[in-house]
C-alpha cells in the first residue's frame, strides 16, 4: 500500500530505461535531492559537516568509482588509497601552479590525471586475473605513496613534506582553506557527488556497463561475443580512476586541508573503500552511497556510545570497531553478497505487496 506501481504504465522504451521507473521512487528521489540541496545547507554546523557530511559525500564518490571497477567490471583493486593520493597531489599541484583557474576545473582535471594513472596500472589486468590482480594493484598503492613521500616536487619542496590547500573560492565564496564555511564546503562536494552519481548511472545502464558486466561475469564468453577486453577493462579503470581521483582531490582540498600521504592515503584507505562497497552492495550505485554512509556513521556512533556515554578508553573503542567491521564484512559476504542495496530491494519488494502478500 505504501508503495505502488499499479497504474504506472510505460508506453515507450525510453520510459522503461529511466533510472527510477516507478513513480513513487522518482518522487522520493526528488525529495531527497530537494532536502540535500535546499534544506541541509541551512541547518548544518561545523561538527556535522566535518564528522558526517563531508566524509560521506567524498567517500560516496570514491565508492562509486571503486564499485565501477570491482562491482561492475569485476577487477578487484586494492590501490584506491594510492589513486586517491594521485587526485590529491594533482589537485595540489594544479591549485598552486594555476591559481587563476577556478578550483572546480582543478578537481575535474585531477580526476582526469588519476584516470590516466589508473589506466597505466590497469594494463596488467589483461594478463593477470582475480586476486593476482588484486595483489598487483597493491604495487600501485605502495609505489604511489612512496613516490609522493620521496619526490619533493610533488609537495613543492615544503619542509614538513605535507601539502596544504590554499584558499580558493567559487562565485566569491571560499570552499577550501580555513575560512571556508561549512555549508559552502558541503554544497561544493554535494555538486560533485551528484554529478558523479549521474555519470556512473548513465555509463552503467548503457552498453559500456553491459560490457563491464560481461567481462565480470564471464570474460572469455564476453570476448567471443565481441567485447574487446582491453578496451572494456581499461575504460573501467579510467572511469573508476576519474571518480577516485575527484574523491582524493576533494578529500585533500575541501575536507582535510592538509595531507601527509602515508597517513591519509595508506592501505587502510584502500580497504575502507573496498569495505564500503562490499557492505553497501557490489554493482550498485545506491549501494555505494549506503556503504559510505554506514562506514562513516559507524565510528561516529561507536565513539559517541562507548567513549562518550560509557566512558571506555578510545583505543578499546577503536579495536572494537575493527572487530565489528571485520565481522560485518564476513557476515555480508556469507549472508548477503549484494549488501545493503539488496536488503533495500528486498524490503521494497515486500512493501510493494504489503499488506496483501499474495
Amino acid at each position: 500500500m505504501f508503495y505502488r506501481e499499479a497504474g504506472d504504465f510505460k508506453t515507450s522504451y525510453t520510459e522503461d530505461n529511466q533510472t527510477f521507473p516507478i513513480k513513487f521512487d522518482r518522487y522520493r528521489y526528488y525529495a531527497v535531492l530537494l532536502v540535500a540541496f535546499a534544506v541541509v545547507p541551512f541547518i548544518i554546523n561545523d561538527y556535522w559537516v566535518n564528522a558526517v557530511f563531508l566524509p560521506f559525500l567524498i567517500y560516496a564518490i570514491a565508492a562509486i568509482g571503486l564499485n565501477i571497477l570491482v562491482g561492475y567490471c569485476g577487477q578487484v583493486s586494492l590501490g584506491t588509497g594510492g589513486f586517491m593520493a594521485v587526485g590529491a597531489y594533482a589537485c595540489y599541484k594544479l591549485m598552486t601552479g594555476f591559481p587563476e583557474i577556478n578550483i572546480f576545473f582543478h578537481i575535474i582535471l585531477s580526476g582526469g590525471i588519476t584516470a590516466a594513472v589508473c589506466v597505466a596500472f590497469g594494463l596488467p589486468s589483461l594478463r593477470i586475473k582475480g586476486f593476482y590482480l588484486a595483489v598487483a594493484t597493491l604495487a600501485a598503492q605502495f609505489f604511489l605513496v612512496w613516490l609522493f613521500n620521496k619526490v619533493s616536487w610533488f609537495y613543492n619542496y615544503s619542509a614538513s613534506g605535507q601539502i596544504n590547500a590554499p584558499e580558493r573560492t567559487v562565485f566569491g565564496v571560499p570552499v577550501t582553506g580555513a575560512e571556508a564555511a561549512p555549508w559552502a564546503a558541503y554544497l561544493f562536494c554535494l555538486v560533485f557527488t551528484f554529478i558523479s552519481a549521474i555519470i556512473a548511472r548513465n555509463t552503467t545502464r548503457g552498453m559500456a556497463g553491459r560490457k563491464w558486466m560481461a567481462i565480470r561475469d564471464m570474460d572469455i564468453a564476453a570476448e567471443i561475443i565481441g567485447v574487446n577486453p582491453l578496451k572494456a577493462k581499461l575504460s573501467a579503470f579510467a572511469v573508476s580512476g576519474f571518480f577516485v581521483g575527484i574523491a582524493g582531490a576533494l578529500f585533500f582540498s575541501v575536507y582535510l586541508g592538509a595531507v601527509e600521504v602515508g597517513e591519509v592515503f595508506g592501505i587502510t584507505k584502500s580497504f575502507l573503500v573496498l569495505f564500503m562497497i562490499i557492505i553497501g552492495g557490489l554493482g550498485s550505485i545506491f549501494g555505494s552511497f549506503a556503504g559510505a554512509a554506514f562506514l562513516v556513521l559507524l565510528p561516529v556512533l561507536l565513539k559517541n556510545l562507548l567513549v562518550g556515554t560509557l566512558g571506555w578508553p578510545t583505543d578499546l573503542a577503536a579495536h572494537l570497531e575493527f572487530m565489528i567491521v571485520g565481522a560485518l564484512i564476513v557476515v555480508f559476504l556469507v549472508a548477503e553478497p549484494h549488501g545493503l542495496a539488496q536488503l533495500w530491494r528486498v524490503a521494497k519488494e515486500k512493501l510493494r505487496l504489503w499488506p496483501f502478500p499474495h
Binding site: 522504451y13 560490457k211 564468453a221 567485447v227
Partner: protein, 272 residues
Amino acid sequence: MLDASEGYTTEDGRKIGGVVMEMKNITLRFGGVVAIQDISFDIREGEIRAIIGPNGAGKSSMLNVISGFYNPQEGEVWYKGAKRPPMKPYEVARQGIARTFQNIALFEGMSVLDNVMTGRIRQMKAGMLAQAIWKGKAEREEVENREVVEKIIDFLEIQHIRKTPVGRLPYGLKKRVELARALAAEPSILLLDEPMAGMNVEEKEDMSRFVLDVNDEFGTTIALIEHDMGVVMDLSDRVVVMDYGKKIGDGTPDEVRNNQAVIDAYLGVAHD
C-alpha cells in the same frame, strides 16, 4: 557433389546461396595432441550445416577455430571471399559470426534483457562521453536497439522473463536466452554448440523449431554441433562427420547415413 559457386533451392523451397565460409586444410594442435587434422569444408549462405562425430572428435575445437577462439597452426579460413588473418575472438564476432556455447556462457549477474542487449555490441557505437551524458546519441541508440532486441525476445517467446536475472532461470530457458543473444547480433553465420544437449524431448522440439524458424525467417546461415542423430538428420542440409580429428564424411544427411566409414565410426556405435 554440389556446385561450389552457384546456389540452389532445397526441396522445401529455401534458397541456398554460394559459399560464405570455407575452411581449407585446418590443422589444430595442443602441444603434441592433434585435435583437428587437415580438415576442409565449406558453409553456404542460408544453409544449416551440421558437424557431428563421437566424443573427442574435435567438433568443438572446429567451432572454436571458426569463432576465432583458437588459431589453427596450419590451414586457412576464408570468409566472404577473403582469407581471414589470425584474429582475436572479438574481432571475429564483429565480422558477424555469433555463437552459443556447449556449457551455457551467459552473464549470470545480468538480466535476460541485458544479456540479449550485449548481442548488439556490433551495432551500438556511442562513445563513453556520449553515454555519460546519456541524453542524445546514447539514449537514441539504446532505444533503437532495444526495439530490435524486443523483436527477438518475442520471436523466442521469452517476454515474460525479460527482467529476470539469468542466474535464476532453468536450463532450457537459459539455452534459449543464449540463442537470443547470438541472434541479436544479426549474424551472417550463427554457430550453435550442442543447442539441444541436456534437454528433454519437448525442449528439443521447441529448440529445433526455433533453429528452423531462424533459418527460415531471417535467412541466417547456421553451423551446428549436435549429438542427437534424429535432430541432426532432420534439421541440416549438409553434414560434416569428424572422428579423431579427421573428416570421414561430408554431404547431405542421406549421403552421410549411407557412408560406410561413418557407419563404422559413429552411427554403428550410436545406434548399438
